[in-house]
């Protein structure tokens, strides 16, 4: 109230007057006192007198007492009186927060906490709106650590002051202490929302997250807190421990380098917090923990790019140094922690662990068993302090070198806690080391049943199972579990070894494990060796070679002694990898070296023989094979089988079939009783004309057991039947097909059999049967087998190209009259696309897609969008095909070039077309194919009107000849159109030769040829000859409706030209036949028939045929003429069956306005309508 002096005096005066006039009215006194009170400090005494008066007159006025209390406490310093006044004020009005706060402050100053609490209780009991009391009480309860009461009071208080961050923070703390963590996080969150700089709330939230295991969230919170107050040791401690926990999580997953980067960060933070609070032992312990974890997990990452031994040992040394220095620093920090808190038993153990790690990293062997090791001594310190802690006993057991002491320690641990799984596990390990495998197994079993999430017992069980021969799969599984629980290098190496024994080397678990093991145990030769084996299994031979080399460096630099066999094994591995990688020279150098030292074993000999053969030293290879053969009887069965296979293959590829057969015949029979050998012998037998091996083959085939093996063998037999009398010969192909049919009857699910059958059927070149192929090939959506033969997709794709039946999904483009027309046909394009989608890198898939697309495009009459796609696909296919090593590759390129050339011809780009076709003709393929390139050139030149070039190419075609009849027909077509000048005409003999080979389809080809000749005659207006040819075609192939249609049409033409009525009847017969044969309603047939019937005078039949014609067209393809004809029908009918003739003509005109005939009729109709 900013009153001016004048106003004040006026008010004062009036109030004084009022007070004087009504001396018994307390309100006037109170008001007066208030006025004076507010005037300033020096007037307070005066005011107090008025308040006193007011209070005396009205003892229920709490406000007066409040002012008095303020007077006594602030002006007079009379605490006792002030207290009384405030108490009075509060008891009169419990909601009076000013008095309440002041009272509590006074009490607090006096140290009367219990009194304070009772005041607050009383006030809060009286009024639920006394928020000050609740909040005060809440804080007090928090102070006294009475958490649950604090929660109650604070909740009430927050109702009064919902935006007070302090209250929320206190509430959070109370919840946290009560263990209600989510509630605590919420409360802290509210506090932070209200005031974003609440560091305490942030730190505590971080701590809660740490406790709950959400390290990422914790780290985020604590980093934020550190930004606000960078000097908070508490936040730093929390952050460092959060990072440590996160890194341990990473280590458990095997992400060592990630963990290392986290640990480096953590270590920095821990160090700076140690600067801030250097006297806290826990800070030092944290730093030491971080360093210890670092020392244990720092990975060796240099791997493959190390050249030479020196570099390797230097890198190992620096890696070891990094680990050592971390261990040293951990040790120092632990010692500091211990120095600060020597009463904490566990720090003794920590020091012991650090010392032990340091010793193991330095590889200093203390052989003196009589004296106590430093680590053991430190552990005794722990045990002296807390003898009943089983952890210390366990640590002692792990670190001691004395067997007896270890056993004692573990048993003491078990005394203290009988269900201590780790003690059982270590005990098991100890027993195993002692050779007591029975006891060891029992101990492991017990440990595993107590705690199945412990890695060691699984590893132990795995090692135990390995000693029992047949159970290596089981051993692998349990070792895998151990590795998954804990990525320890020892377990991982064991896993890789077991994987080698149980054929699991390719599994990614093993790959991951061995890579991680390499990061932790790079000094151990076996880890490099196993890494090399894994690489080799994955066909990455260069990396395998590098690994084996590293293994050898490690072997040379290692301090412990390994047997010689280790070295020779490694050299053989290296040589094998070198040989596979193509570096045969070096491989032989390695093996020669071994041979000189006399360390060449069976495996080495095998590699040696192959390397020599690869190098071209056949004689030496044979002698090595002989050496190998002498060893065979003494070998184990599996390696003997491998050796026999190797020897046979080598012999065959060096000296041919004869000597191989001889040596097979010399071999002991019992060694040939194996599936693998059986395959080899059968293959050799297949190329042998004299069948000397029949007996051996049939006896060895008995060893085939599984279904897959038997099916494979059937394939081999079928192939051998095919090649017995020369591949490609139709008889031999037929015998192969027959065999496969029989085999398929036995194994109807044999996919490879089916595909092979399809392949052979296709290669028989009997086109009319190709539709069978599609039914016999089975397309499986997912085919895990990598077939050496063609896959079902490719066979079906090839069939689709061969059969021309790729009616695209838009069937309106064409009318298929093929009687084998298949419902599946429409989805073939889709099938090809699916295949391409599955293996986009597969050139064959793309090639088949292009070819099928070309046919679809052609059927659809070359629509622009399809042409664009086709152009892009073709050019991509052409550019991506780099290799022309074999005929098939060249043939594919040839086809693609022709396809591309055809496309440019369509574009009108003849020069490009010519150059592409020229490229195609230059590919060294057989003349049969090259013919088509020249044919294409003929067409291109014909378009150019370049007669000289056309003649040249034409002669070239005649010279080359082809055995594809369609080629001859095409050539004839060019001849008929362009009349080459040089006079040479393709005699029919070429065509007749080409169809001679075909047994089944000879007549149909002849029919096609006649059809063609007929068409040629028709073009030259020679209709009688055309009729003869076509009649011949119809008689040759009586099942093809198109022939009859053509014949009928030509007959009709002849009849129209007044050649005689016999043509009319012939025409009707042919057309009826065409109608009857065709599976769909052929257009034109009915129309022609109608005209024929009409000219014979049968109006009814004309009627029926014409209306049939209407339905044989699909709505969008109906030509104008059909509409026009319908008008005739409408005119002829009496009623309105066919609608208004005028409208039909109108529609015809609309479709084809250029036809004058329609207009004429229209005019006539219109005028007659008008009249």
């Amino acid at each position: 109230m900013n009153l001016t002096e004048e106003d004040y005096l006026i008010q004062l005066k009036s109030l004084e007057e009022l007070a004087d006039s009504h001396p018994d009215d307390p309100s006037h006194h109170f008001n007066l006192g208030k006025l004076i009170w507010e005037r300033g400090e020096e007037w307070r005494e005066n005011a107090a007198q008025h308040f006193l008066m007011a209070a005396k007159l009205n003892p229920q006025n709490g406000e007066a007492f409040r002012f008095l209390g303020q007077y006594y406490s602030c002006v007079c310093g009379d605490t006792q009186r002030a207290l009384k006044c405030y108490q009075r004020a509060v008891s009169l009005n419990p909601d009076d927060s000013i008095s309440g706060e002041a009272l509590c402050n006074l009490l607090d100053r006096e140290g009367k906490e219990s009194l304070e609490i009772s005041v607050c209780r009383e006030a809060s009991g009286k009024s639920p709106r006394a928020s000050w009391a609740f909040s005060r009480l809440g804080f007090l309860m928090v102070h006294q650590k009475k958490w649950s009461e604090a929660v109650q009071s604070l909740q009430y208080a927050i109702r009064g002051y919902p935006t007070c961050a302090d209250l929320w923070e206190a509430l959070g703390l109370a919840y946290q202490r009560l263990g209600m963590y989510t509630a605590a996080i919420k409360s802290y969150g509210r506090a932070m929302e209200l005031e974003s700089s609440r560091a305490f709330a942030m730190i505590e939230t971080g701590n809660i997250f740490l406790m709950l295991g959400s390290y990422r969230k914790a780290i985020e919170q604590l980093q934020h807190a550190l930004e606000i107050c960078p000097q908070s040791a508490c936040a730093q401690y929390g952050l460092a421990s959060g990072l440590l926990a996160l890194s341990q999580e990473c280590i458990r997953q095997g992400a060592f380098s990630w963990a290392t980067s986290l640990l480096e960060e953590a270590s920095e933070i821990a160090k700076s917090s140690a600067v801030l609070a250097g006297n806290m032992s826990c800070v030092w312990k944290l730093h030491a923990d971080i360093q210890l974890t670092y020392a244990k997990s720092f990975p060796w990452t240099e791997g493959g790019n190390l050249k030479g031994e020196d570099e390797f040992s230097r890198s190992i040394l620096s890696w070891r140094k990094a680990r050592q220095s971390a261990a040293l620093s951990a040790n120092c920090s632990y010692q500091r922690a211990l120095h600060l808190a020597p009463w904490q038993a566990n720090i003794y153990m920590d020091v012991a662990v650090a010392v032990d790690l340091e010793c193991s990293l330095q590889e200093s062997q203390e052989d003196d068993l009589s004296s106590w090791k430093l680590a053991e001594k430190m552990l005794l310190g722990s045990l002296l302090l807390e003898g009943d802690n089983h952890e210390f006993w366990m640590a002692l057991g792990c670190m001691s070198d004395h067997r007896a002491l270890r056993q004692h320690a573990f048993i003491r641990g078990l005394h203290l806690d009988v269900s201590l799984a780790s003690a059982w596990a270590y005990l098991g390990k100890l027993y195993k080391e002692e050779g007591e495998s029975q006891l060891g197994r029992q101990a492991f079993d017990r440990a595993r049943s107590i705690d199945p999430s412990l890695a060691l017992p699984w590893a132990g069980m795995s090692a135990d199972m390995l000693t029992r021969e047949p159970a290596s799969d089981e051993a692998y599984d349990s070792c895998l579990r151990a590795v998954q629980i804990m990525p320890l290098a020892e377990f991982q190496l064991g896993l890789a070894k077991l994987a080698l024994l149980s054929n699991n080397l390719l599994s990614p678990e093993v790959f991951g494990a061995i890579r991680q093991a390499l990061q932790c145990a790079p000094w151990y030769p076996e880890s490099h060796n196993l890494n090399g084996l894994v690489y080799e299994g994955r066909q990455d031979f260069q990396s395998a070679v590098a690994s084996y080399k590293l293994a050898r460096y490690a072997l040379k630099t290692s301090t412990f002694h390994l047997p010689h066999s280790h070295f020779s094994d490694l050299s053989v591995n290296l040589a094998r990898a070198l040989c596979k990688a193509g570096n045969v020279q070096e491989a032989i150098r390695e093996l020669d070296d071994l041979k000189e030292r006399g360390l060449l074993d069976v495996g080495g000999l095998q590699v040696y023989a192959i390397s020599l053969w690869k190098l071209g030293k056949s004689d030496m290879a044979l002698s090595a094979a002989k050496d190998l053969a002498t060893c065979v009887p003494t070998m184990k069965l599996s390696s003997a089988v491998a050796s026999i296979c190797l020897i046979c293959s080598l012999l065959y590829s060096i000296s041919g079939a004869g000597p191989t057969i001889n040596s097979i015949l010399q071999m002991p029979k019992e060694l040939l009783q194996s599936a693998k050998v059986s395959f080899i012998i059968s293959a050799v037998d297949a190329v042998d004309q004299s069948s000397q091996l029949q007996a051996v083959v049939s006896s060895s085939r008995r060893s085939l057991s599984s279904k897959e093996e038997i099916m494979e063998m059937h394939l081999l037999i079928a192939l051998s039947k095919v090649i017995r009398s020369g591949y490609g010969h139709s008889i031999s192909v037929q015998s192969g097909i027959d065999h496969l049919r029989k085999a398929l009857h036995m194994y109807p699910n044999g996919i490879s059999l089916r595909n092979m059958l399809g392949n052979l059927l296709l290669s028989r070149k009997q086109w009319e049967n190709d539709h069978v192929v599609r039914r016999c090939c089975a397309v499986v959506a997912f085919d895990p087998m990598k077939n050496d033969f063609r896959s079902a997709y490719e066979i079906i794709g090839a069939e689709a190209v061969a059969c021309h039946a790729t009616t695209s999904c838009k069937s309106k483009y064409s009318l298929s009259t093929c009687k084998h027309h298949d419902v599946q046909g429409s989805s073939l394009m889709r099938l090809m696309q699916r295949r391409f989608r599955l293996e986009p890198w597969n050139h064959n898939a793309r090639y088949l897609l292009v070819l099928n697309l070309l046919q679809t495009t052609r059927q659809a009459r070359y629509p622009q969008h399809l042409l664009d796609v086709l152009k892009r696909m073709t050019s991509a296919a052409l550019t991506s095909q780099l290799f022309l090593n074999n005929t098939f590759e060249r043939y594919k390129r040839f086809q693609l070039l022709l396809c591309s050339s055809e496309l440019s011809l369509l574009d009108g780009d003849t020069s490009c077309c010519v150059s592409l076709a020229r490229d195609a003709s230059n590919l060294s393929l057989s003349d049969f194919y090259t013919f088509f390139a020249h044919l294409q050139l003929c067409r291109a030149h014909a378009v150019e009107d370049n007669h000289t070039r056309l003649d040249e190419e034409f002669t070239q075609c005649l010279k080359l000849r082809t055995d594809y009849p369609i080629g001859w027909i095409s050539l004839k077509m060019i001849e008929s159109r362009h009349k080459p000048q040089n006079g040479s005409t393709p005699s029919d003999s070429g065509f007749r030769d080409s169809i001679k080979e075909m047994k089944g389809s000879e007549s149909s080809w002849l029919a096609v040829y006649s059809l063609f000749c007929g068409l040629v005659s028709q073009w030259s207006q020679d209709f009688p000859r055309a009729e003869e040819f076509l009649a011949e075609a119809c008689s040759l192939e009586a099942t093809e409706s198109c022939f009859f249609l053509c014949h009928g049409a030509v007959c009709m033409e002849l009849a129209k030209m007044q050649h005689g009525s016999q043509y009319l009847t012939m025409g009707i017969r042919s057309l009826k036949k065409a109608q009857w044969i065709s599976s769909i309603q052929l257009p034109f047939v009915s129309l022609l028939l109608a005209q024929a019937e009409a000219s014979l005078g049968s109006k009814l039949k004309w009627d029926i045929s014409l209306s049939l014609e209407w339905y044989s067209w699909s709505p969008e393809t109906r030509p104008a003429e059909v509409y026009f004809q319908m008008h005739l029908l409408a005119l002829g009918s009496d009623g309105s069956d066919y609608g208004d003739p005028l409208s039909w003509v109108l529609r015809a005109v609309h479709l084809n306005p250029s036809c004058l005939r329609y207009w004429r009729v229209l005019r006539k109709l219109a005028s007659s309508g008008n009249s």
């Binding site: 992400a255 380098s257 990614p508 991951g512 890579r515 699916r834 550019t879």
Partner: protein, 323 residues
């Protein structure tokens, strides 16, 4: 965590469905849309919350659609077909914004930058990732997988390193791509530099996704039937999950980062708990290879529950509730 089947729409397309993704909701359209691409040469937009309702069919491709991608703003999306024709279109109006052409076999999986500034396209036989600017639609970078030193010039490098899949890290600084030989290559985008390979798969890597919660963690699905978890920065394999009996064709990470879903040619959709490192659920409602799985991104009006969509060769779309 749990998947519950909500709806399975049979014959959603006329033929195999090969790709699926969600278009996030935005200011003008308060719900997410499901985008699918199929062998029937069309791309369809679906309104999918509890039911799957066709919103629109986009045509224009000449061959099957192999990949679809949605811009984080929810305004534009892209679809790529077998002939490597990428069409970028406006989601709401279906107007073509850009067409990106590459030689066939040089466009496979696509993904937009998390901020939407760029579009990465797995470059197939070009053994590279093509990065397009989304404002000018110009090619801004072509991140090439380096040839191994030992390779001869005419080695079948284009086949071995054929790039099938691509993924942006959540911060947009890294790009990873998966190749046919099973390796994954990691690139630094700002410097346009190859960083390193991640090894471990034996067969083609068809799908990649970075974890939304840990920018270092990359998940990959491969034909060797495994799902791997990599520390993409420390180039180490930190987890390998097996359970599918055939190729893993597609994977996606849940928005909370706690789970991933995978679709496989063994016809199942599996849900993997990342804490347990194991499949917790296997859905068998598809009758053919599952080519795409996609979690719905958070956001949109009234959307609380998570959704997962899967598409398959059996022409159906399945929708699940994820909780």
């Amino acid at each position: 965590m749990k998947l519950a089947g909500l709806k399975s729409l049979e014959s959603a397309h006329d033929d195999s469905i090969w790709a699926a993704t969600w278009i996030p909701a935005n200011d003008t359209r308060p719900f997410s849309l499901l985008l699918t691409g199929s062998l029937d040469e069309s791309v369809r937009l679906w309104k999918a919350d509890d039911d799957v309702v066709l919103e629109r069919t986009n045509t224009g491709h000449s061959l099957g659609v192999v990949s679809v991608a949605a811009h984080p703003s929810g305004v534009i999306a892209a679809s790529a077909s077998l002939d490597s024709f990428v069409r970028v279109f406006d989601v709401d109006s279906n107007t073509t914004i850009a067409t990106l052409e590459a030689p066939p076999s040089e466009s496979w999986q696509m993904q937009f930058h998390p901020k939407g500034t760029m579009l990465a396209v797995a470059g197939g036989s070009s053994t590279s990732i093509k990065v397009w600017d989304t404002s000018t639609w110009q090619l801004v970078a072509s991140l090439q997988i380096p040839r191994p030193e030992s390779s001869k010039p005419n080695d079948k490098i284009a086949t071995k390193k054929f790039v099938l899949s691509v993924a942006w890290s959540p911060d947009g600084r890294r790009l990873a791509c998966g190749s046919m030989d099973g390796t994954i290559s990691v690139f630094d985008v700002s410097r346009g530099k190859f960083l390193h390979h991640l090894e471990g798969h034996l067969m083609p890597v068809r799908s990649l996704i970075y974890s939304p919660s840990d920018p270092r963690v990359l998940f990959s699905g491969s034909d060797d039937a495994h799902i791997h978890m990599y520390d993409a920065e420390g180039k180490s394999l930190i987890g390998s999950m097996s359970g599918h009996s055939s190729w893993v064709l597609s994977i996606d990470a849940s928005p909370d980062g706690g789970a991933i879903a995978s679709g496989s040619s063994d016809k199942t959709v599996k849900l993997w708990d990342l804490n347990m490192r194991a499949a917790v659920q296997s859905m068998t409602n598809h009758s053919d290879m599952v080519w795409g799985v996609a979690f719905r991104p958070p956001g949109g009006a009234g959307v609380r529950s998570g959704r997962l969509a899967s598409v398959s060769d059996d022409k159906s779309i399945s929708l699940y509730d994820y909780s």
